[in-house]
Subunit: 437 residues, 2 copies
Amino acid sequence: MEDRVKPKTLPGFMELLPNEQILFNKMKEKIEKTYQKYGFLPLDTPIIEDAKVLLAKAGGETEKQIYRFEKGENDLALRFDLTVPLAKYVTQYYDKLSFPFKRYQIGKVYRGEKPQRGRYREFYQCDVDIIGDGKLSIINDAELPAIIYDTFKNLGFDDFTICINNRKILNGLFASLELTEESAEILRIIDKIDKIGKEAVRVELAKEIGNKIDTIIEFISIEGNNEDKIEALKSMNIDNDIFQEGLKEIEQLTKFIKIFGVPENYYNIDLTIARGLDYYTGTVYETFLNQYRNLGSICSGGRYDNLAGFYTDRQMPGVGISIGLSRLFFQLIDNNIITADEQSIADVLVVSMSDEYEKVAEIASKLRENGINTQVNIEDQKLGKKFKYADNLNVKYVIVIGEDEIKNNVVSLKNMDTGEQQTITLEDVLKTVNNRH
Amino acid sequence: MEDRVKPKTLPGFMELLPNEQILFNKMKEKIEKTYQKYGFLPLDTPIIEDAKVLLAKAGGETEKQIYRFEKGENDLALRFDLTVPLAKYVTQYYDKLSFPFKRYQIGKVYRGEKPQRGRYREFYQCDVDIIGDGKLSIINDAELPAIIYDTFKNLGFDDFTICINNRKILNGLFASLELTEESAEILRIIDKIDKIGKEAVRVELAKEIGNKIDTIIEFISIEGNNEDKIEALKSMNIDNDIFQEGLKEIEQLTKFIKIFGVPENYYNIDLTIARGLDYYTGTVYETFLNQYRNLGSICSGGRYDNLAGFYTDRQMPGVGISIGLSRLFFQLIDNNIITADEQSIADVLVVSMSDEYEKVAEIASKLRENGINTQVNIEDQKLGKKFKYADNLNVKYVIVIGEDEIKNNVVSLKNMDTGEQQTITLEDVLKTVNNRH
């Protein structure tokens, strides 16, 4: 016999057991159906792209993490997000698309990060973006929180907050204080407020910016509901066009989020969020499970002025959000927020007492014709083993066929949840078994 | 401005326009739902695997076509089919799985073939396999044609044939004639029968095997319905155990295919099909669209004695089928067998006469609450341009809001197919627009 290879999956690559996979796929499908409810078009770009195309804008960390390799004469790379392929796509097929171009894409992306618990090298992103041709109304920015709200509601969550901010408010504020160069450092300090408290932030900031601290502290101290915050921002009287533009946008945004059907306790202006990625230029979003704020943002995104500047002269502003589904799924399972224990595909398993396989096939065929997911076990096994099999697969109903059942033209139906067993006609089985399609 | 990169997609990588993508995804979903109807469990293995694991058995053509590269110290490869990852999976998670293990997997695989029209380097395979632990009843082989039948019926096809054969019949026949070594060459010649005719095949065979040709010709001349063919095979009185075993299997198979609900005119014993892959050891399947036989087999598969011999001592027989969806989709579009012209995601587009955006958002929100896929256009555009947009997206209904509509608490609903326009209440819109969810 040839030498055997030990089968193993690479570290950092998610591979699920069937019951987990069923749950994962259900979540993915709910996300997709919600995205479709808002009229977004599906897209499925290649995982492999020309490295030069994919890395047109990338640099630094991204470049290091990327899977890049040669095949023949081609310099290839695996996509590391779904935004660069979107920029490529809208430029390449510009003439064939209708703008605003609304698309969703759900697919795997690749980053060769150091594998850590819950950090994956291959992971699903679920993105929606709206791309304008030249310009794009701010009202689009208000539709995305409705999609976030709807998506997480459909996923079964009730207690979450969509935090919104506008980069123009931050950028304008810093510009008005002549602190533009220090802004990244200031934001880094402010970002620690949840961890170290407001007083420690004040001390650190004072070291950085001295007497300009009062305005910053006034800014990050703004509290109340969204209307209160907008009023407080107005009353700061910041003399900067960018700031005032951002303020006007966030006022429009909060108004329209409500009209798009998001209850007010689900969204919240949070003036301290900025998002790491430097391409966001206006609205930014982060989403938190209120009871699990430590998980970090579970859905983030924002507005960018120019999607495809590295491919084309055309100005294409956009706004989008992304759910990192693989990581989210790991976190939800790991924290017992969801469980895959009871997941199944088949509603019914049909088995026989001994070798009544023809009747098994016949009954299964009739159930399937009636839209019931039906599995057969036609192996030469003891009945007990077949029930164990049904149990392992979390199948709700087992139909058993024996000589008596065939003679009397009935079947024996066992409900695996209750243990209840009935001898009934196939017609009654169809009524009993919930048709879930 | 920085230097621009020309955006392009690599040759051999399928990238679809939105309407085509919608149709592609619908087909993919129909295949998946059908696989689930038979109780198969979903699986989603990584696209990247350890090259040593993935190539444990591969060699020759496969090795040349594979995408293999290094990242850090890792020797990596992209999966080239879904069967090797399945072998890895069932060995690795053996203790946590229930056998027979029935799984489906729909995903992209990678082969660096020379790009040709309709041949892809990245393409979807849609696989179902049943894996036994030690043994696996032949009746499983009869369930797969039922899945093929059901799948292509659900995809909208009516005129196709599932061709079945059994490698044991061929192998036994050749062994009985002491032609085992010549069998590959004989099969190659027989395979040309559709192209060059029976007489030319006879001439070529005579060169190869001299006077043993009579039995071979008798064999390939067997005609009639499935029962006739089985009778003819029996009456050949081939004195070989493997042949007789294959004959018994195909007799069982055809009997059970019928019981599993496949009409007899949809499946057919074809003694000349053998499938290229050398791991098939029993039943083999090919599926043809009768009016487009030139497309080749659109769904193929078979039985293999031992799935994971390169990973484990455990004998795991299996039987499976695969649909190469990317290639099939290309062929169907290319031959005008299907068209993506009318595909859409949104059922309704809501627009305003001028700046009645609040009402647009409100109406859209209500339609979505009622399960209707609804898109908004809230850009500062002329109404004509918005109708053109609806037209491009193949949206069936456009709702227009203007001052009058708001005043009278109605909307204007245009059916884009008929051109008919009504001024009605939102309640009546909900009744009119077909709720497709």
